[in-house]
Every structure is written in structure tokens, then in C-alpha cells.
């Protein structure tokens, strides 16, 4: 390898690192700026100016915690947990049935589901509001739970997972006299934990971040989900240019997902390519 080639490679390395560092900084910038803003006083923000707060103030956080914000956090936590648990059980059961149980009409039901995944949410948005309203469920958290308790994409993911899953464990359980349901809960689920963890992360994140459904279904502020509450908060404080309050609300809403992300970082990145279904 000649000197010229080596020099070229070093230049290339420098360019690569520069781009990656620049993009990482660009990623962090809006968040960093928002965190700093959340610790400023409203008066200081109106004055414009410095990067770091002149006086570090917890005023923004105090204001949000004296509002209905804690209720919204609690609503989001409860609904997201319930939805995640239901999804895990129901999607995994359905995926297992498609992969492992021979029953009449399996192919038909499976292909019908494949078709449904292609219908855009907008087509069903208004009619599903009408269904919810006919069931008398407008302005209840039940509306959110019922309409998100399964997810066809994850049923498919679990089906793919179980197809590659070694059969002998289940067969041994059947020989021991366990029923299909017993085998499923006692043998299959504990062995499928990596796939279930993946599902849990993405279902939780999706419902925690969901905006449109709460906007349609929930009307009274004490039942708002956090995303919807944030929108209300911004409307209330934007005219007063109290950006410290708004940023405190926005930043705090990211924290739960962020903690999960740090703990389960490996799953997030790896599983992301599994859910895409490219491979």
C-alpha cells in the first residue's frame, strides 16, 4: 500500500468522523437547548440572550407539577402499561396460533389480516370514532385500550418468531400432559422473552407517543393523555411566551421513554430491524 493511498484513507477517516460528530451534535442541540430553556425564568427568555440560564430556576417544572400535568403522566402510564400487557398476550397468542396450531381456515384468516394491514388509518379513523361513540366509550380510557389492544404487525412478527422456534420443548410438555393453553403460558412464553421484550418496547413507545387517538376520543382535561396535555399546555402558555414551562413539560414527557431506552438500548437497536420485516 503506497503512501498516497494511506494519506487518502486518513483524509477519508477525518471526513467520516467529522460528519458523524456533526450529525450527533445536530441531534443533541434541540434537546440540549430545550433543557437549558426549561431552567430559565420566563423573564429571562423574553429578554433573549445567553445560552446558559443566568439564574437556574425550577419555576417551569414547578408550574407544570402544580397544573394537571401529573394526572396526565399517570393517565399515560396506566393506559400504556395496560395496552402493552394486552398486546403482549394477544399478539403472542395469535402469532403462536398461526405458527403452530393446525386449524380450519388458518390460511384464510392469515391472508385476511395481511390485507387489512394495508388499509390506511385515515380510512378507519372517522368510522372507528363512530363505533366508539355508539359503544358509549367517548371520553373513557377504555376507548384507547380497546382500539389498540392488538397490533397486526406484531402478530406477524411473533408468527415469524415461532416458526423458527424449536418444537421439542412444546412436544415434551405435551407428552407431560400439559394442555395447549398450559404449554403456552408455562413453556412457550418464558422461552420467547427476547421477542416479547422487543414487542413490549415498541408497543409501549407507540401508545406513550400517540397523539391522534387521544385527540379524537378523550375530551375532558382530567382524562387527557400526556401528549394531548402537552398540546393543551402549549396553548395555555405560548401567549405568555412562558417557554420555560412548555419546555419543562416537553422534556419531562421524554424521560420515561429515555430511561427505558438507556436500560434496553441493545434491544431497541437490534429489534428495530426485526420489526421492519425486511429480512
Amino acid at each position: 500500500m503506497g503512501d498516497h493511498m494511506k494519506k487518502n484513507n486518513i483524509t477519508l477517516r477525518i471526513i467520516v468522523y467529522t460528519i458523524l460528530i456533526a450529525y450527533s451534535l445536530l441531534t443533541l442541540l434541540p434537546f440540549g437547548w430545550s433543557v437549558l430553556t426549561s431552567f430559565k425564568t420566563t423573564a429571562e427568555i423574553a429578554g433573549g440572550g445567553t445560552i446558559f440560564p443566568e439564574t437556574w430556576s425550577l419555576g417551569g417544572y414547578k408550574t407544570i407539577f402544580e397544573s394537571q400535568y401529573p394526572t396526565w403522566v399517570l393517565n399515560s402510564v396506566i393506559v400504556s402499561l395496560v395496552v402493552t400487557i394486552l398486546n403482549l398476550i394477544f399478539n403472542t397468542m395469535a402469532g403462536y396460533a398461526f405458527a403452530r396450531i393446525q386449524f380450519k381456515g388458518r390460511t384464510l384468516v392469515y391472508s385476511a389480516m395481511l390485507m387489512l394491514i394495508m388499509v390506511p388509518t385515515q380510512v378507519t379513523m372517522i368510522p372507528s370514532y363512530i363505533v366508539i361513540s355508539d359503544l358509549g366509550l367517548v371520553n373513557t380510557h377504555m376507548s384507547l385500550v380497546l382500539t389498540t389492544m392488538i397490533n397486526i404487525a406484531y402478530i406477524f412478527m411473533m408468527r415469524q418468531f415461532f416458526i423458527n422456534f424449536p418444537r421439542d420443548v412444546e412436544e415434551a410438555a405435551a407428552v407431560d400432559g400439559l394442555s395447549k393453553i398450559g404449554t403456552f403460558f408455562r413453556i412457550v412464553i418464558p422461552n420467547a422473552l427476547p421477542a416479547i421484550a422487543t414487542q413490549a418496547i415498541f408497543v409501549f413507545m407507540a401508545i406513550w407517543n400517540e397523539f391522534m387517538k387521544p385527540l379524537l376520543f378523550i375530551t375532558s382535561p382530567d382524562k387527557y393523555m400526556l401528549t394531548q396535555g402537552l398540546n393543551a399546555l402549549s396553548k395555555q402558555f405560548m401567549n405568555a411566551t412562558a417557554w420555560d414551562v412548555i419546555m419543562a413539560g416537553a422534556i419531562f414527557s421524554i424521560i420515561p421513554i429515555f430511561i427505558i431506552y438507556i436500560i434496553l438500548n441493545k434491544y431497541f437497536i437490534q429489534s428495530n430491524d426485526k420489526t421492519t420485516g425486511v429480512k
Partner: protein, 293 residues
């Protein structure tokens, strides 16, 4: 015989919750939608009047529909190519045996975790009249730009925000695909004297074709459905001057502001058809290229 019946029973027991949810909240709404499109519905009295294709003719003569049409297409045409390109390039850079790639990946993924409502508020603060971006441009060029109240720029802010938050997701999809490219293709190209940049265009890009195809399709579907950001930025109005009025936002307005469920469903159906048609066309064109290349 008994075993077979038991299997059927077990199969449907396992599927029961999923089937109930699908019938109630996907199938019934779809059937409902096909029916509602042809009616004028008064939500308050619950009265329905059959109007045939009336909803559709009204939509096509509605200037707000054409504004939403133009905004949404503009949005798709700008966002999809940019996010696909940035995601592919970043993935290739991360895959080129850099140190700390795990750390880069961890940081870059943050925008994808953030909810659209928190992200929109952050961007509104950045592009606010007293925000970081505006002050920065002011101190650099001495121009005080108004982003959110300017009809020519408001949509651009939403575009930037969407690119910012979807790039990391697609980057990881590309990264997975890059790991499947056989190393000997690069070695062969190197022997032929191709430098890294040439290798990227002659090996990486064509080999990533199936993944790009997936990323573009998902990008198209996502962009056509843009709602949250446009809703929050404009407080549901689609303003200034309809510049952030997207298809989905207009569907929402028709249904819940004008209480016109029939027309809203008709518009949703049109959007569904557009998404279907555009995806089909793009898929066909890309597949054709793949065969030729």
C-alpha cells in the same frame, strides 16, 4: 377426529381476542366507511341523507382540498428523498468500521424516541420569533426571519422536523441491510481500483436496493399521513393561510369542526386511494430499475 376438533378449538381460542378487536375496530369501521362516503351525516341529530357521489363532487370543487393536496404532495416529494438519502449515507458511515459507532448510534436514535407532540413544541421553540434559529440567522445575516407565521416557511419547519425524527429509524434499517452485503464485492471493487466513494455508488447503493425500496415505501405512507405536527403547529387550523393544511388535518377538520362525517370519510377514501396508487407506481418504477441495473 377428536384431535382435529381440539386443534380447531385451540386455534380459535388463541385468536379470539385478536379477531374480536379486528372485527370491532378495523373491519366494522372499514365497512362503515364504504357506507358513510355516500351520505351526508348530521352528527347532532344523527340524520343521514343519501347523496350518492355528492361528497366527492363537493370535495373536488373545494379550494381547501386542493390546498391540502398541494401541501401534502410537496411534503412527500421533499421529505422522502431527503430522509432516505441521509439515512443511507449515515448508515454507510457508521458501518465503515468507525470507533464508538455504538455511542453515535445511541445519540442519533434519540429523536425517534421522542413523541411528535414534544418534538413539535421543541421545534416551535427553536423556530419561534425569539428562538435559537431565528436569533442565529439574525446575528449572522442581520435578517429577522419569521418561520411559523410565514405561509412560505411554516411547512418547511414541519418537513425539517419530520426528517430529523425519522432519519434515525431508517438509518437502523439500512444498517441491518449493510451487514448482509458480501464483503468480497467490496474487495473485487477495490482490486478494480474503485475508491471508497465509488464503492459506495457501485456496490452499496445497488446492493441496498431492496431495503431502499422498503424505506421509500414506508416513508411515502408515513408522509402522506402527516397529522400531529401540522395540527400542533397550527392549533388545528392548518394556517397560516392553509399552508400547513394536510390531508389528514383536513379530514379531521371536516369530521370534528364541520361535523361532516360523510365528506370526511370520502376524503379519507381518496387519500387511501392516492397512497395506494403512489406506492404502486413507485414500487413498479424502482423494481424496473432494479432489473435493468
Amino acid at each position: 377426529m377428536g384431535g382435529k376438533r381440539y386443534s380447531n378449538l385451540a386455534g380459535y381460542t388463541f385468536l379470539f381476542p385478536a379477531i374480536i378487536a379486528i372485527v370491532a375496530f378495523i373491519l366494522t369501521p372499514i365497512a362503515y366507511a364504504f357506507f358513510l362516503m355516500f351520505f351526508q351525516v348530521d352528527m347532532l341529530s344523527g340524520e343521514r341523507t343519501f347523496v350518492g357521489l355528492g361528497n366527492f363532487t363537493e370535495i373536488f370543487s373545494d379550494p381547501k382540498f386542493w390546498a391540502a393536496f398541494e401541501n401534502t404532495f410537496k411534503y412527500v416529494i421533499v421529505v422522502v428523498p431527503i430522509q432516505t438519502t441521509i439515512a443511507m449515507v449515515l448508515a454507510a458511515l457508521l458501518n465503515s468500521k468507525v470507533k464508538f459507532n455504538r455511542a453515535f448510534l445511541t445519540i442519533m436514535f434519540i429523536p425517534t424516541l421522542t413523541s411528535s407532540s414534544a418534538m413539535t413544541l421543541i421545534f416551535m421553540w427553536l423556530f419561534n420569533n425569539n428562538g435559537l434559529v431565528v436569533n442565529l440567522i439574525d446575528s449572522l445575516f442581520g435578517v429577522k426571519m419569521q418561520f411559523l407565521t410565514n405561509p412560505d416557511l411554516a411547512l418547511t419547519v414541519i418537513m425539517a422536523m419530520n426528517i430529523f425524527s425519522t432519519v434515525p429509524h431508517f438509518m437502523i434499517v439500512f444498517l441491518a441491510g449493510l451487514q448482509d452485503i458480501p464483503q468480497n464485492l467490496y474487495e473485487a471493487a477495490a482490486i478494480d481500483g474503485a475508491n471508497k466513494v465509488k464503492q459506495f455508488f457501485n456496490v452499496t447503493v445497488p446492493q441496498l436496493m431492496p431495503i431502499s425500496f422498503y424505506v421509500i415505501t414506508m416513508g411515502l405512507i408515513g408522509c402522506f399521513q402527516i397529522f400531529d405536527q401540522a395540527f400542533i403547529i397550527s392549533d388545528g387550523t392548518g394556517g397560516p393561510q392553509n399552508s400547513t393544511l394536510t390531508f389528514t388535518l383536513y379530514i379531521y377538520q371536516l369530521a370534528f369542526t364541520s361535523n361532516d362525517m360523510g365528506r370526511a370519510t370520502a376524503l379519507a377514501f381518496i387519500l387511501g386511494l392516492i397512497i395506494f396508487a403512489v406506492t404502486a407506481i413507485v414500487n413498479k418504477t424502482l423494481k424496473a430499475d432494479e432489473v435493468n441495473g
